[in-house]
């Protein structure tokens, strides 16, 4: 089967003391085998929350209100990520079939533990290996990524940010999962290390042939690395399709503005940005959430949420303007 994950009508958000923040609203998507799928959008649009929900890491105050998420494994098994508890997921799907590279990945390593222990404890937990065997495997594994051997003996603070990032990426592929969810895997790095980390990630994806979901607000990165891309705004997916097609011919007004704001070689026209702010998700507006900033809006946009249209094969947008 070509499909790796199907999410339908996902609704989730944060239960705060007096209010509910509607972070992910009626999101549906499909992920295919051996592809790099990007999720783009400005900060606060809900992409990190969506990733957490897809992974099944739903801890209070985050709640999943509605929706189904099904993960399809090579051997025909299906995991319902939305109905299993974190404890059940831990025993079945996590890391074996889907792994997660969290935001701020540079700081997720345990400061008082050596790198090699990060690997050996995984081998021990998932394969029941003895420490010496686990250590040997960790060494081979590290080498296969082209990382220097002495990385294993080091403590996290002794490594550079870029190196730590690569270690975290390597850890995520340890059990060769079908699906890897990467949340802003390079944002905290400088430009040079960014490129190295992303190339590392892309090469790993090619090597293992898994599905990589790349969450990033950086459209430049999305354009270079992804096969397909979904754009999120204020908790909703407003456009999804092949990256090439979307960059060449953005349909949704928001995507248009995003693409226009990117610098391009040879194009000397002035870059324009969008005025305004995304809506407050504690009290989301009734109609299209992009309405206040949309230069092409019609009266209906304010009243009703737009339906999802398929413009061409595989290219969907959520807008009234077609």
């Amino acid at each position: 089967m070509d499909l790796v994950l199907r999410g339908l009508n996902i609704e989730g958000g944060y239960e705060l003391p007096e209010v509910y923040v509607d972070a992910v609203s009626n999101v549906s998507l499909e992920l295919h085998r051996n592809e790099v799928f990007g999720i783009a959008g400005e900060s606060g649009c809900g992409k990190s929350t969506l990733i957490k929900i897809l992974y099944g890491y739903v801890e209070p105050p985050l709640t999943l209100k509605n929706g189904s998420i099904e993960l399809y494994i090579n051997d025909g098994n299906t995991f319902n990520m939305s109905s299993l508890s974190p404890d059940e997921l831990r025993k079945t799907a996590w890391w074996r079939h889907v792994s997660y590279i969290p935001q701020n990945a540079m700081n997720v390593l345990n400061p008082t533990t050596r790198i090699r222990n990060h690997f050996t404890e995984m081998y021990t937990a998932y394969m029941g290996l003895e420490k010496s065997e686990a250590y040997a495997r960790a060494q081979k594994y590290i080498e296969s990524f082209g990382l220097p051997n002495d990385v294993l003996a080091a403590f996290p603070h002794q490594l550079s940010g870029g190196m730590r990032q690569r270690v975290v990426i390597a850890i995520s592929l340890l059990l060769e999962p079908n699906l890897v969810l990467a949340d802003e895997p390079s944002s905290a790095l400088d430009v040079i290390n960014q490129r190295a980390a992303l190339m590392f990630l892309k090469n790993a994806q090619k090597m293992f042939g898994n599905t990589l979901v790349l969450v990033s607000h950086d459209m430049g990165i999305q354009g270079v690395l992804t096969d397909r891309i979904a754009l999120m705004y204020a908790g909703k997916i407003i456009e999804v399709g092949e990256t090439q097609a979307i960059f060449e011919n953005p349909m949704h007004p928001y995507t248009k503005a995003l693409v226009k704001s990117l610098p391009r070689l040879g194009d000397k026209a002035q870059r324009t940005g969008l005025k305004g702010q995304p809506p407050d998700l504690k009290k989301p507006p009734p109609g299209c959430r992009f309405y206040p900033r949309c230069p092409y809006s019609k009266p209906i946009c304010q009243k009703e949420e737009p339906k999802i249209l398929e413009i061409e094969r595989g290219h969907h947008i959520s807008c009234w303007l077609r």
Partner: protein
């Protein structure tokens, strides 16, 4: 010690700064002792003489005069202040503090030496035990923060924590003296001669157990509360949620939280030693435990001013030293200091 890179700058900086702190603490403490002893309205020589007369010794006026001179020399009261100060420091550091007034002419250092090992035993035993108990239960309470036991423990700890050591000691003393008739006798026994026999060890343990319990009750509650709060905040850190995301079970996560929370608790322990020592002193007195606390009380009732000063000086040095030793252990557990980066 595998791979202890002594060349690490951070390690050197750490040891140096703690050594400086140790010296500063001793200096401040001894100076305070000196000031207290000199800026007081009493004349130690007068105390000694009246003490001896009260004990019924018959002294001729010349002998009294000679004795007063001896004390004046000891305290250097005929010399300028700065000389007295240096004499005092020299005396403390060389272990020569002069005679006890109550047990004249036994040197105070001998009396202190006999009692100090008892105090070290009580203090060491109770402090280590309560630190371990409080911290371990605190971590577990944080990891299982939603359980009822965890909340119940918190209530108990909050009831014990604010109670001063003196009151805990008195309450326990009351409880045991009323419920275990045999116990009433244990307190008042005199000095016991050390030997390597089973009966001696049993004797020590019997004397040790209840005072230790008293200190442990109060201290454990304190460590429990601070550790629970600390561990809860560590639980929210990125590397802990990453461990959960990676699917490592509760045991590994607890280990992560514990390792990380223990570090500030060691620093905390090093600084709290003075406070715990205070508690040990009064507990020793209440239970007539043959340590410095009981010795101090005897010094007070016997107007043994010199002994008081001696106990004071060595208490300060002992506590500062213990804190320094703990500070040296810290890098063994925190790799960020051991291997600078």
């Amino acid at each position: 010690m595998k791979g202890l890179e002594l060349g690490s700058f951070k390690l050197l900086a750490h040891v140096t700064s703690r050594l400086l702190f140790f010296l500063l603490t001793v200096w401040v403490g001894l100076t305070a002792t000196f000031i207290v002893s000199r800026a007081s309205p009493i004349d130690p020589s007068v105390i000694l003489v009246s003490r001896l007369l009260a004990m019924g010794s018959h002294l001729r006026p010349e002998e009294i005069f000679a004795m007063r001179q001896q004390i004046l020399e000891l305290y250097g009261l005929d010399k300028p202040v700065y000389m007295q100060y240096l004499l005092f420091i020299k005396g403390v550091l060389s272990g020569n503090l002069g005679p006890s007034f109550a047990f004249f002419p036994t040197p105070t250092i001998d009396l202190i030496r006999n009692s100090i090992s008892w105090t070290v035993l009580l203090l060491g035993f109770s402090t280590i035990l309560s630190w371990i108990i409080g911290n371990v239960i605190g971590v577990l309470a944080a990891v299982f923060s939603r359980s009822r036991i965890s909340k119940a423990l918190e209530w108990i700890a909050m009831g014990l924590y604010p109670v001063p050591y003196v009151i805990l000691a008195i309450l326990l003393f009351l409880f045991f003296s009323l419920t275990i008739p045999m116990y009433r006798g244990v307190g008042g026994a005199g000095m016991v001669m050390p030997s390597l026999s089973v009966s001696y060890i049993l004797e020590v343990l019997t004397r040790l157990s209840i005072p230790a319990l008293s200190i442990i009750l109060g201290s454990s509650a304190s460590w429990f509360l601070s550790m629970k709060a600390l561990a809860l905040s560590v639980k929210g850190e990125d590397f802990v949620s990453y461990a959960i995301i990676r699917g490592l079970g509760r045991k590994v996560v607890t280990k992560y939280v514990m390792r990380h929370s223990l570090l500030p608790q060691i620093t905390s322990l090093a600084l709290s030693l003075g406070y715990i020592f205070n508690g040990a002193l009064v507990t020793e007195y209440i239970f007539s435990y043959p340590g410095l606390g009981r010795l101090l009380y005897q010094a007070i009732t016997n107007a043994d001013y010199n002994l008081m000063l001696g106990i004071l000086s060595y208490s300060i040095m002992g506590v500062a030293l213990a804190a320094f030793v703990l500070d040296l252990i810290y890098p063994l557990i925190d790799p960020r200091i051991r291997y600078g980066g």
